[in-house]
Amino acid sequence: MWEYTDKVKEYFLNPRNVGEIEDPDGVGEEGSIACGDALKLSFKLDENKRIKEARFKTFGCASAIATASALTEIMKGKTLEEAEKITNQDIADYLGGLPREKMHCSVMGRQALDKAIANYRGVPGKAAEGQIVCECFGVTDKEIEQAVSENNLSTIEDVTDYTKAGGGCGNCHQAIQEIIDRVRALPKREVAAKPKLTNIQKIRMIEETLDREIRPSLRQDGGDIELIDVVGNRVMVATRGACATCQASEQTMKHFVEIKLRELVTPELVVEEVSQ
């Protein structure tokens, strides 16, 4: 049995915003009955071009239903530019996390959203450009690339959990590995684009990186991290929850947080753990 959070169960048992909008401004469909889950997402804008109404229909398991419902809640009130920035991790976080093997449900949500926005704008969706890599589940190289870079995936198993690619016959495993290697070898553009940071910018970027890249995985293990101070290139953090008592905590600091911050903020950073 899957370990679903109470919020996933709640959104599955009492889903919000079920249905299809009549005369919608944008519609996106993702998945298929053969793949085992599918989502139809529609939205309507108000006079200020903010999403007034969002509705969904889902064929799929409990987490597919819950993530689609959560997405409609997150979308509401946002402009399309804001909605575009919703990541699959945002959807998972909204529900208090998803079992790793179910992350593909959140990715399906984000893809349907991309398609719905593209449908409104009358342009082809991002995924439409790619080449199919996984024949079993019809996943393109573009979709895999996006999942790898947005969620910092490093193994084929990760890619399968997030996109389903590679979960069928396994013939595409080599191709998936090549995409992972290619994406991970790319220098991050954010770093190159901002050579000199002000202290305020640095702190903001550290906070963002902790939020986006580090907290979600720590929280999966019941832990958390807090930024205490930044002095020059010294980043003072404190661990919370399960991390605070974990033997591997120091390891976590050095190998995970520091690498991430150096990669995404600036390479000079040194992480220090303080007890506060």
Binding site: L13, V18, I33, G36, A38, K57, T58, C61, G167, G168
Partner: protein
Amino acid sequence: MKTIYLDNNATTRVAPQVFEEILPYFSELYGNPSSMHSFGGQVGRKIRQAREQIASLIGASPDEVIFTSCGTESDNAAIRSALLAYPDRRHIVTSRVEHPAVRSLASFLATQGYRLTEAPVDNLGRLDMKRYEQSLTADTAIVSLMWANNETGVIFPVQEAAEMARKRGILFHTDAVQAVGKIPIDLRRTAIDMLSLSGHKLHAPKGIGALYVRKGTKFSSFLIGGHQEKGRRGGTENTAGIIGLGKACELAAQHMELENTRVKELRDRLENGLLSRIPNSRVNGDRTHRLPNTTSISFEFVEGEAILLLLDEFGICASSGSACTSGSLQPSHVLRAMGVPFTMAHGSIRFSLSIYNSEEEIDFVLEKMPGVIEKLRKLSPYWNVDETVCATG
């Protein structure tokens, strides 16, 4: 909330009489049956009795029964033993719908220099006997076919299949984990060389299984160690488990009639009730050659895990062959081998009953199930999209 347990092909409750029988062997009667003192010897006597009880249920003689730890161990021991017995033969024959205990082992062996043929089934899950017979060659070391399928309950004609193998001098093993205790088995009248069974599928505890090996069959032990089981399976006996399995087999023989009358009637009541109450539903598998306790029903355009979780809210326990419950991303290999369409395969639910189920429980499921399916169909983008899409009832 009351639990309505309709997942007996997954595991069963330990019968109260079995529980009572085994309790002393966890406490005061802890002796080792191999010991020379009478304190251990009395346990040895109970084990002899258990061996007789098991042999009696399947029409074997007691020395043809080897105790193991589970059905998977029995399957592994049988197949690996046959390969060792015929080292110059490199071919294995099974079917496409075997339990992972056979299927995964056979796939592994296929990477170790063995050739594997998986005989196909038709859309009712019936073994293609012609293709099966054609697959038997002088190079075939072992055939392993399940007696009854765990997902659909479909019964294979294993006796006929075993005769085809014997005619060609090929060892025949059957995984009878789901069949033993539910349908009459008399091995004396068959050409079956080896048979696997598992305790927890017939109201004995988990952690005990048995392998029948016909007298005169070459056998090499899977676990090499002490002289237990006449050297055919080393390791100190799971005394409580063995004694429990013996008692459970004795009870199964007494309840065989009940399984094939009352349990079957309850299953049919459930199955027919669901088919008539819920549109676009159908039974997977051959309804005529089937275990009396099992039904696999597909509900079109909805997904199995979601159905199970809604049933769970009512305390109803069942299982599904959908992708999200199979531990992989594809629906069960059994339903795929049968060519069940995707619209149906993802929404398959297996109910498996036991003698402990009541009519009230079945009626409760019949009352709740239509609402569950309707709720999910209202969420499904495929429902009502094309009302002409209609399944065979």
